[in-house]
């Protein structure tokens, strides 16, 4: 059984979404994770709690609030309209924004753990050797946190691929634009097309499994090598 054109389109949208979201999350998540790992600020835990929220919230809750926020009566949507912007719901950009929130902890937390384990001592040492803060970030923290970056990338990507609730709420299921794989699977199940659902689900399962195997295998090799 081959994939239909609609399924292929959904697959493409899914991979594009996951790729864009992962890239954005690495850009935003790295400084955030760095700050969380290094800051001595008293109320840091509040930010940590906010970052972790998507872990415990049903994604539909996040999607629901996004739907309201992005809508013309919501704060974000209202602002967008005031400045002549297009509404974000039912657009690929909207999905990206929703998914960035949703997958945030999956990128930030591994990075934060990795940066924490790099520890202050080596960074101080680099400072005594004349390395500026930015210099020691790139020459000490980033290389030593490499396994964390790999984990963050794969988890962020895989989690966005597997996302359902947020997309369900703000996607609008537009083929080729906002219809993603998980929604396509849902539709197949709902319409009793179990064969096609199996094909897509099995593929997704296999892909996720292989990604995770690759990450854990690689991280283990790094540990064994004593890096």
């Amino acid at each position: 059984m081959l994939l239909t054109e609609a399924d292929l389109a959904a697959l493409w949208v899914t991979l594009k979404l996951a790729g864009v979201v992962t890239a954005i999350l690495l850009l935003l998540g790295t400084p955030l994770a760095w700050w969380l790992a290094r800051s001595q600020m008293r109320y840091k835990f509040l930010i940590e709690a906010v970052v972790a929220l998507p872990l415990v919230l049903p994604p539909t809750v996040l999607g629901f609030y996004l739907l309201i926020m992005l809508g013309p009566h919501g704060p974000v949507g209202g602002l967008m309209q005031m400045f002549g912007g297009q509404p974000l719901a039912f657009t690929f950009t909207g999905l990206v924004i929703g998914s960035v929130f949703y997958s945030l902890p999956f990128v930030v937390q591994p990075l934060q753990d990795a940066f924490t384990s790099v520890g202050g001592r080596l960074l101080e040492t680099a400072a005594t050797l004349g390395a500026s803060p930015l210099d020691r970030f790139f020459t000490i923290a980033v290389p030593l946190a490499a396994p964390g970056f790999l984990t963050a990338t794969v988890l962020g990507f895989a989690h966005t691929v597997g996302e359902f609730g947020v997309v369900l709420m703000i996607g609008g299921n537009i083929p080729g634009k906002t219809q993603v794989l998980s929604i396509a699977i849902y539709d197949h199940v709902e319409t009793l097309e179990y064969g096609r659902a199996h094909l897509l689900s099995g593929g997704l399962l296999l892909m996720s499994f292989l990604l995770l195997v690759a990450v854990y295998g690689f991280n283990r090799r790094i540990k064994v090598a004593g890096l």
Binding site: L67, A89, F90, L168, G172, N173, I174, I183, D187, E190
Partner: protein
């Protein structure tokens, strides 16, 4: 020792008496029928002393669950397709299937003057998004597609259509303003006081195939039979109409 034995006997007898006096029913109900079904079940419980546990959800999911042995006594679907399938598969009780409500489709917007009483707004198309339920999944979506097709607008509307996975989500798209208007069920927009907020076109029932919501019995027991009978009697039928549904 005597004390313990006495206690056990007491608990056992209590359990048995509960079972015999009033039964506990598990009923799978289509989400769109949640409001009215809760009200009906309350009446039913008052009159019979039975306990009704309602489980709301998508008809597709309920169907799959029942297929795999979910312990429901009765199933109130959002269409007739799944009850028919269950009957054919020998899972539902033969001959128990009946239509308990007919869905009424409306084109609705929370904006006061957007939708006119003839639905001309669709021709003018001064909106960005039109929300409908996924026609492949939801009976209301299928009906919406028929309405658009009847007016020769299905192809033209493609770039404006956003789809909810079910009619509840479709309503959410419109209610939140992300889609300016949408095909939803009359029961969703009808308030308990009988009014409708915003503007609405009640679609004439000739332009779409009836949205038939059917129920079947999954397990044969007197309490479940009583519930199915109760729902076809006058007080319940009046409530169904009051909530914005048609009757067969």
């Amino acid at each position: 020792m005597m004390q313990v034995t006495k206690g056990v006997v007491l608990i056992l007898s209590l359990l048995i008496s509960t079972v015999s006096a009033s039964a506990e029913l598990y009923v799978a109900v289509a989400s769109n029928f949640a409001g009215v079904m809760s009200a009906i079940a309350e009446q039913f419980e008052k009159q019979t002393g039975h306990q009704v546990r309602l489980v709301f959800g998508s008809t597709g999911k309920h169907y799959a669950q029942i297929q795999h042995g979910a312990p429901y006594d009765a199933f109130f679907a959002a269409d007739d397709k799944r009850p028919i399938l269950l009957e054919r598969e020998g899972i539902a009780l033969g001959g128990s299937r009946f239509t308990y409500a007919m869905g009424k489709l409306v084109l609705w917007s929370p904006e006061a003057s957007l939708v006119d009483a003839q639905g001309k707004v669709l021709q003018i198309a001064s909106f960005r998004y039109l929300a409908i339920a996924n026609p492949r999944l939801a009976p209301y979506g299928r009906a919406a597609k028929q309405v658009l097709a009847f007016n020769g607008l299905w192809e033209k509307m493609q770039s404006r259509i956003v789809m909810g996975e079910n009619i509840g989500q479709t309503y959410q798209f419109v209610k939140s303003g992300n889609a300016a208007l949408g095909f939803v069920s009359y029961s969703q927009v009808l308030s308990q006081q009988g009014g409708v907020e915003g503007s609405m076109w009640m679609i004439p029932s000739e332009v779409y195939l009836p949205i038939v919501q059917q129920a079947v019995l999954i397990k044969d027991n007197t309490a479940a039979r009583a519930l199915l009978k109760f729902i076809q009697e006058k007080p319940a039928r009046e409530m169904i109409e009051q909530y914005g549904y048609g009757l067969p």
